[in-house]
Structure formats: C-alpha cells, structure tokens
Symmetry: C2
Subunit: 301 residues, 2 copies
C-alpha cells in the first residue's frame, strides 16, 4: 500500500463544446481526471459512484492505467452528467446543465482493504462527504483536498471542519480569496493556513501556481500553450500530477513539493491539449519528463 | 557613452489615491519612473518637457540618482498632470483626470551630444514622437519601447511604422492581444515579432512576465507582495530595471535578457511598496540583490 493513493470524487459523462470542436458523453469527473493523471506516477484506487449507463468501455479507461476501481459503486439510474462550453475566453467554463443523477444520494463507502492507504485525495465533492470519507480512514499519512466556490458559499462550516484535518489544500485564486475574505494572495494563504492545511496550493490557470508551505513560497508560471483544445479537468489533472509525484516519493519535503507542483503543471497543461483524457491517457514517461525539463528552461535565469 | 541609456517620455505631477492613502503632486511620468529605476544599474540621460511649476525640488530627485536632465526642456505653462485612484482591485488604475498641459505641444529635441547614445528607451508616448526621436539618433545599438492601449487604438499605423525599427517591445497582456488581434499569448507574441521586435516582453502585472526572444521563451511569476501601496509606475520601473541591466551588461544575450527580466520584476515590485518613487529612490544595491536572490528561491525546483 506504500505510495498508493486513494481518491474519492466524481465520475461523470461530459458534453463539451469548445472553439475546437464538440464531444458528447466524454468520460469526465474530478476523480477520473485525477486518477488518470496520478496513475502516471503511482498506484491509484478510486471510490466513486456511477449509474447503469456506465459500461465496460469506460472501465477500460481506468484499467488501461491500472486504476483500481473495486470501489466504483454502481447504482440504478444515470451517471452524473455535466454539459458545458468554452467561448472566446477559453479559461472560463460556461455550465449548460448539471444532472447529479446517482451522485445525488452518493454516500462513499470505503472498502475495508482501502482504509490503511497512506495518501488520500479528496477530489472536489461536498465537504460533508469528504469529511465522512476521512472519518472512515485509518490515519492516512497525507490528506490533500480540493474544493470549489459553491461549497465555500453554501457549506463553509462543514468545509472549515474538514480543513482542520487536511494537510494540503488545492484551490484557485478566486476561491482562496473567497474562503479567506482577503483580497491579497499572501494574506489569503496565511488565513487559510490558520484553518488547518500546512500547505496551500493556489492554482492560477494560465498563470501557473503559487504554493505556500511551512518553509516558504514557491511560484511558477503556467506552461505556455499555443492551442488550448479543452481545459475541462485541468485542475484535477494538475492535482493528479502533483499528488501522484508526492505519493511516489512517499513523503513531503520542500524540494518534493516544488517538483510536484511542476509535475502538476505538466499534467494540467497536457490535459488542455485534447478533449477528455485523450492526451492524458496517451502520455509516455518520456513526454512527461520532456515537459518537466522544458519548465527548467522556461524558468531558468 | 558606453552603457548609457537615453530615455524619452513623460515627466508629470500625479495626484494618487489608493486604499493606503493619498498623495498630491507626486513626481510621476513614464520617463521619471524609468530613469530612477534604471539609474540603479547604469547612467541615464533624460529628454522630456516640464512647465514652469517644475522646481529645484523635483530636479533634486533626478540629481540624487545621477540622471542627466540637460535634455529636460522647460516650457511656459503647467507640467503634465494625471490624477487617478485604485480601489479594491489594486491592479487597476481609474483615471480621474489627465491634463496634457506643456506636453500637448512637445516635440522632443535630442541634444547633439546625446545622439550617439547606444541604448535608447522610448517610454510610453505618442508613437509619432517616438519615431521622431529615433530618427534624430545616430544608430543606437538597442532600441526598446513601451506603448499603451490608446496608441494601439488611435495610432496603429504610426506604431507599426515605429515597430519595424524597434529591437525590444514591452507591453502588457491586454495590449499584446489588442495589437496582434490574437487571443492566445504565444500567437500574439509571434504576430508582434513579425512587426519588427526580435524580443517581446509581455508584462502580466502580479502574475509576472513572459518574454519571447529569438532563442526561446522565458516566464517568471511576479514577486508576491503582501502590501501593494501604489502600483503607479510599476511598468516603467520594471522597464528601468530590465533595460538598465541590459545597458550595464552592454549587450543582449539569452542569459542577460532572463536576468534583466528578473531585475525588472525586482524594481517593479519595490516600486509598488510606496507612493511615487519613495521606495525606488531609497533602494540600495544590497536590497536589489536580495530580492533578485529571493526570486531564485521562489522559482527553484
């Protein structure tokens, strides 16, 4: 179980439209993007729920990457569905529709054999469910979690309760400001660290990432992409590269976190180059290392 | 004259209001911020125009930094005045009023003894004046220039004529997109390089800078500041650090440009920490090097 990640989050079907095309019934969801991305670094086990429209075709995607889906619960009904589009501002998703379907009554049950997994990633779902998952676990070594503006708005007390037990929080610029009530990024991070997480990773979209740890601040620009085909899942792919590398290393240190953030950028940027996990799914270790090294050149002075 | 910069731009009085206070009749203008910043790196000579309200008190600021103001023309009337404020979004200046005054009829005359200066910085003024200045010069080694959304909008043909003769163009994210008609940053830079400049420096405010040269791309995050007192002149201070370092080195290379961009970030960030040039003016070489080294730590992985 050493180096293994358990991820709990959503698995979905997405209908996506971007200036580069259209894709219906694309495999999506936070846990999907996270696990495919993280699988390039370490072993991943997934807990989520799908409906009876979820078939062998989708299972195959996870199997291809060795993602253990023993914990993928199947319920009668339809899988969670999201439809969205991107227009001129490719960084901003416009939600057309959200159908929770089987996700509405999802109560994650962590299989007995998963409870000792050392690296836990709570992908973006209701903080009450995230807390419930954490409670079922047997003291994971490192707990990382993601969240979103909706939960900060409607479930802040539940989120704050969870954050006390979280080591690493990932969120974006706007969410950090919303959660902390601060408009300055350093003040935001300092306020969030007081809520619990020792490490706060603030994602800045095309501008990269800034991370506040106990030993200092790390910041990197984003990887400049000439073509952004579909940014859906970029944040989860980032998290997969980031936490996947940490789990592979088996521990957290200042150096490991910095390198993990670059691997996060690498996976997030590759993800944007195709629809769904097409690119993420086809990546080789050589491609991942190539872009990691390109970051060295991009930032070298 | 080796390593010397000639800067032509505006010298102004600013009335500034920010969440941190208010300052009236602050010494401002693009050439002022640029020259004070660049003076920490090399010798600077300034050409601009002021009115008869400009006194020894203001001269003293330039003299303190060894900025040669032989070319600072005095005309009857009032100096250029700008009034602006910053509200919650400290990165966005809200112009209250602009009085061109003596600047309205400014026709820069380059003193004979300045015409052989090797490093020319055309700070943000009307591109026709920038072109006129360049025409008076005796083949400067490196020409850098800044511009703004207004000129791209109302004087694009004149700007394009100038850009054919410019080596390095500095502009911000939005201006790069406006000038190129492209929404992607790489495509913007590629389009701008076809207009003339071999090096395109795109300033991203708090997110740092991305630079496209003949040998590749460099990007850095901004220096994280806990308190932004007054961002007026940050872009010009950035340019002063950037071009000042290049002039001190006496040439352009990939390595020099990368380091120069960090010095630009250093000076731009220091500038934001006080009103007017208060901070910029009081900096020591040790403080400049300290922040340069902090960038190494910030970006190291």
């Amino acid at each position: 179980m050493k180096n293994t990640i358990l991820v709990v989050g959503s698995v979905a079907f997405d209908n996506i439209e971007t200036p580069f095309g259209k894709r219906d019934n694309a495999l999506g969801g936070s846990a999907t993007y996270f696990s495919v991305s993280a699988s390039h670094f370490t072993k991943v086990k997934l807990v989520a729920v799908v409906g009876d429209d979820f078939t062998e075709k989708q299972h195959a995607v996870f199997k291809k990457h060795g993602v253990d889906i023993t914990g993928l619960e199947k319920q009668p009904g339809k899988t969670f569905r999201w439809a969205g589009k991107y227009e001129k501002d490719i960084n901003r998703a416009i939600t057309i529709s959200t159908e929770l379907n089987v996700f509405e009554t999802f109560k994650p049950k962590i299989p007995e054999q998963y409870r000792g997994i050392p690296f836990l990633f709570l992908a973006n779902i209701d903080p009450e469910l995230q807390y419930d998952v954490l409670s079922q676990m047997n003291k994971p070594e490192i707990v990382a979690c993601d969240t979103m503006n909706l939960w900060i708005e409607i479930k802040k007390p539940q989120l704050l309760k969870l954050l006390k037990k979280v080591d690493i929080l990932l969120l974006n610029d706007g969410e950090a400001k919303q959660l902390s009530g601060e408009i300055n990024i350093i003040k935001s991070a300092e306020a969030i660290k007081k809520m619990g997480p020792k490490t706060v990773v603030i994602k800045r979209g095309e501008y990269g990432v800034i991370c506040f740890t106990q030993s200092g601040i790390f910041a990197s620009p984003g990887y400049p992409l000439k073509t952004i085909c579909d940014p859906t899942g970029a944040g989860d792919s980032f998290a997969g590269g980031f936490f996947g590398y940490i789990a592979r290393c088996g521990k957290v240190s200042d150096k490991i976190v910095r390198q993990a953030l670059i691997y996060g950028n690498v996976m997030g940027s590759y993800n944007c180059e195709s629809f769904s996990q097409d690119k993420l799914s086809s990546l080789t270790p050589a491609q991942i290392n190539k872009r990691f090294n390109e970051f060295k050149k991009l930032m070298m002075f």
